[in-house]
């Protein structure tokens, strides 16, 4: 094979790889991005079967456990949503504090969480929660963390 043909083949392969990578990236960004919603937006934005993140404050006195299943309510000051989670709650999960639940929701059911994220440490609140609380008028902290 001539050197020029070899070079053309290499460029063709490189272009094919790049096109494949760009396609995968665009498809991935379209399909596997997880949107964040506040409890008051849930009914409007949630589609059945699509993963979303729900963020807000855990309502005081709503945590119930049955075996490994934990149920609690999350609010942004406007709407209250029931969350169901089968598993270990994070160490920093507390009633009255911020939480982010990742999972799916369908009308008439509790939010089925597959993952529950709480604060990493006492100084840090998930930014999504801060935003939700500010918009719901529930933010009582000073400057946002």
């Amino acid at each position: 094979m001539r050197r020029r043909d070899q070079r053309l083949i290499m460029i063709a392969i490189a272009a094919a790889v790049l096109v494949a990578a760009i396609t995968l990236t665009l498809v991935g960004l379209r399909s596997s991005v997880v949107y964040f919603v506040k409890p008051s937006e849930l009914a409007e934005k949630a589609q059945p079967g699509r993963r979303i993140r729900l963020g807000g404050l855990v309502v005081e006195g709503t945590l119930r456990r049955t075996g490994t299943v934990a149920q609690f309510s999350v609010t942004d000051g406007a709407t209250i949503v029931e969350v169901r989670y089968d598993g270990l709650l994070p160490d920093l999960f507390r009633e009255g504090q911020g939480v982010v639940a990742e999972g799916s929701w369908a009308p008439g059911e509790a939010f089925a969480a597959e993952r529950v994220l709480a604060k990493h440490d006492e100084n840090y609140m998930p930014r999504e929660v801060t935003e939700a609380l500010k918009q719901g008028g529930e933010w009582r902290g000073g400057r946002p963390p």
Binding site: M1, R3, Q6, R7, I9, M10, A14, V17, L18, A20, A21, L24, T25, V27, G28, L29, S31, S32, V33, V34, Y35, F36, R53, R65, T66, G67, T68, D86, G87, L88, L89, D91, L92, H120, D121, E122, N123, Y124, P126, R127, E128, E131, R143, P145
Partner: protein, 642 residues
């Protein structure tokens, strides 16, 4: 008093590093100026070392007149974590950044080797400016020596999650890697300023790149290992933006390690190597920006001052602006390409670089996309593992498919048929793995392919070793002893990549988890093991109290015990999880203790994970780092020879 000495030393070091930059870049070339530049670099490094030592002393003595000590230390903390506390916070870690940069500048200044003098003094000068930039940022925007008046009696303690040996070593390792990439950057800028890059220049570049890559590998590995056993989520990599921030420079460094070989051996790719060195350091700075600016929410993001984020962005813009500007102006003068065929060692290294660069680009897009969407009012989103698994994994798989051919091919024109013939045992091993996994997992194609690719890499590395051994002379032992270090290092790194792939695919594809409420004496069958909760009780540690659960694990007649804890640090007012891990060859049983199942009940929630092959991940990382270290040894040994 010691604190004042530290602050003064850092300020003096700033002046010296600016002087070093001026002597290397702006002032005329003379022996006197070069000698002065060397002295400035050495004195600067010593002064930053004094400043850093002063900070460590303040932490050891629990000097609560310093704001950082108050924020991140406590008198009850074990000594090791008092010392580690010096870099377990934003201000101290930035001073560490300066220290590493200054020490590297001194090393660059005093080890000229065979480098061309013009290129060498430019590089030392640029490195001085890098140190100066870091020192300006540290002293003016995150001063670790800031006082608190009146001084409180007690500090608020270090986050208990961070009180861990792996995490004490994680930041220094990562910083050695990040800042290590500043030296290739300085060398690249030196080549652009002078408008030439020779093979001695590439020879000087390689050890720095390798050292940076090795430290990044170890630093990321330590962080991942820590996340695995400390966070209690059973995972080791979450595609968290903070992890991506370190993964992108790693990918660039990995590409640079390979392209520098071509530039040194064949004289080609010089322009690309220079561009890659600029991009690599740019990504390291971007990583620092993402982690330190507070644009990300994570355990790492402790800088909440927006000025700091902007300052890092300014430094990033300066570095990239100078780099790309010079590149655009000078790149054409560098050209000295030597030809190569589509099947050759050069073309394989080109594919390596292409694959790694595209991978870094994808990770960059996935990491920045949520920020862009938010900035344009598109709401809050997160890009997580599904995106990266669907994009980066296939790309790396394609790269790994061709990888074993690389070492088998010769420079200029390679013999593909001969390489394929030599590699057939590796192909056979991969096909057997593929078939066996497909049958055992009832046709799950993706993990089966992943495992097969991992085996292909490991077997391909072994085939290469065998081919090189056969080429030697004398008896088997003599052949083994005469094998060049470079062959060992390349094999170790490539086999390590395979071992890591096997672990990552095994864990991601075949893990299982389950939550259970257990009362003492109760058993559960999980992943071929019978797990019994023996007892739950309170224990006291040096600076915490804990609830401990003891488990008995029965597997095929073999009985072992393991315990898991929930620890309460009074300084933190929040519990942490200490998981129990039982490692076997096939994988880990991983137990995390939760809370009582219901009020008043004796049952506790326990989360059980089975993480198959997970230890392979960490062995793979160690093998890759070993490969880097061996290669570094080979290069330094070669350099010291006449």
């Amino acid at each position: 008093m010691i604190t004042e000495i530290g602050a003064f030393a850092a300020a003096l070091a700033l002046a010296l590093s600016v002087l070093q930059g001026a002597l290397g870049i702006a002032l005329p070339r003379s022996d006197a100026n070069s000698a002065a530049m060397r002295v400035a670099a050495l004195a600067g490094a010593m002064l930053v070392a004094i400043a850093f030592a002063a900070l460590v002393v303040a932490f050891v003595r629990s000097d609560f007149s310093l704001a950082v000590v108050v924020g991140h230390s406590h008198t009850d903390k074990p000594l090791m974590y008092k010392i580690a506390g010096a870099w377990g916070n934003h201000e101290g870690s930035m001073l560490l950044w300066c220290l590493v940069s200054a020490v590297f500048a001194a090393a660059l200044a005093w080890r000229r080797g065979a480098q061309d003098e013009g290129l060498w003094r430019r590089a030392v000068g640029v490195q001085g400016l890098v140190t100066a930039g870091a020192l300006i940022y540290t002293l003016f925007l995150s001063n670790p020596f800031a006082r608190l008046d009146p001084a409180p009696m007690q500090g608020s303690g270090l986050n208990p999650l961070l009180q861990d040996p792996a995490l004490a070593a994680h930041p220094p390792m990562l910083y050695l890697g990040y800042v290590g990439l500043s030296v290739p950057f300085s060398l690249a800028l030196a080549a652009l300023i002078e408008g030439r890059a020779d093979q001695n220049w590439a020879k000087a570049l390689r050890p720095w790149t390798l050292a940076a890559w090795t430290c990044l590998t170890l630093g990321i590995g330590l962080g991942s290992y820590w996340a695995y056993y400390e966070l209690g989520w059973g995972g080791w990599w979450f595609w968290d933006p903070v992890e991506n921030a370190s993964f992108m420079p790693w990918l660039a460094a990995c590409a640079l390690v390979h392209s520098a070989i071509v530039t040194e051996r064949r004289g080609s790719f010089a322009g690309w190597t220079i561009l890659l060195a600029i991009i690599g350091f740019g990504l390291a700075l971007l990583g620092t920006f993402l982690v330190r600016s507070g644009v990300l929410t994570s355990v790492h993001a402790f800088a909440v001052d927006p000025r700091r984020g902007i300052a890092v962005l300014v430094l990033l813009a300066l570095a990239l602006g100078a780099g790309f500007g010079l590149y655009g102006w000078r790149a054409r003068t560098l050209g000295r390409a030597s030809g190569f065929a589509a099947v050759s060692r050069e073309s394989m290294l080109l594919w390596n670089n292409y694959g790694l660069a595209v991978a870094a680009g994808i990770v960059l897009i996935g990491t920045l996309y949520p920020m862009l969407v938010e900035a344009f009012g598109g709401g809050l989103i997160s890009v997580g593992p599904p995106f990266f698994n669907a994009t980066v994994a296939p790309l790396l798989a394609a790269l790994f498919l061709v990888l074993p051919f690389g070492p088998m091919l010769t420079w200029r024109v390679g013999d593909l048929a001969a390489a394929a013939r030599a590699l057939w045992p590796a192909l056979a091993a991969a096909v057997v793995t593929l078939t066996a996994t497909l049958i055992a997992s009832h046709g799950r194609a993706a993990p089966a392919l992943g495992l097969a690719i991992g085996v292909w890499l490991v077997a391909g590395g072994l085939v290469y070793l065998r081919v090189r051994l056969r080429r030697g002379e004398g008896g088997p032992l003599r052949k083994l002893a005469l094998l060049p270090l470079a062959v060992w290092s390349m094999s170790a790194a490539h086999i390590g990549a395979g071992v890591l792939t096997i672990g990552a695919v095994g864990e991601t594809g075949f893990r299982s988890e389950r939550a259970a409420a257990l009362t003492p004496g109760e058993s559960i069958d999980f992943a071929g093991r019978r797990v019994t909760l023996l007892d739950i009780g309170a224990v006291e540690g040096p600076n915490y109290s804990a609830t401990r659960a003891d488990f008995r694990v029965e597997r095929g007649g073999e009985i072992r015990t393991v315990s898991a804890e929930r620890r309460f640090y009074p300084t933190a007012a929040a519990p942490t999880t200490e998981v129990g891990i039982l490692s076997d060859l096939d994988g880990d049983l991983y137990l995390a203790l939760g809370e009582p199942a219901e009020r008043g009940s004796a049952a506790w929630i326990v989360r059980l994970y089975y993480n198959p092959l997970v230890q392979f991940i960490f062995y793979g990382v160690l093998l890759m780092a070993l490969g880097g270290a061996l290669s570094l040894t080979a290069l330094l040994r070669r350099r010291s020879e006449p």
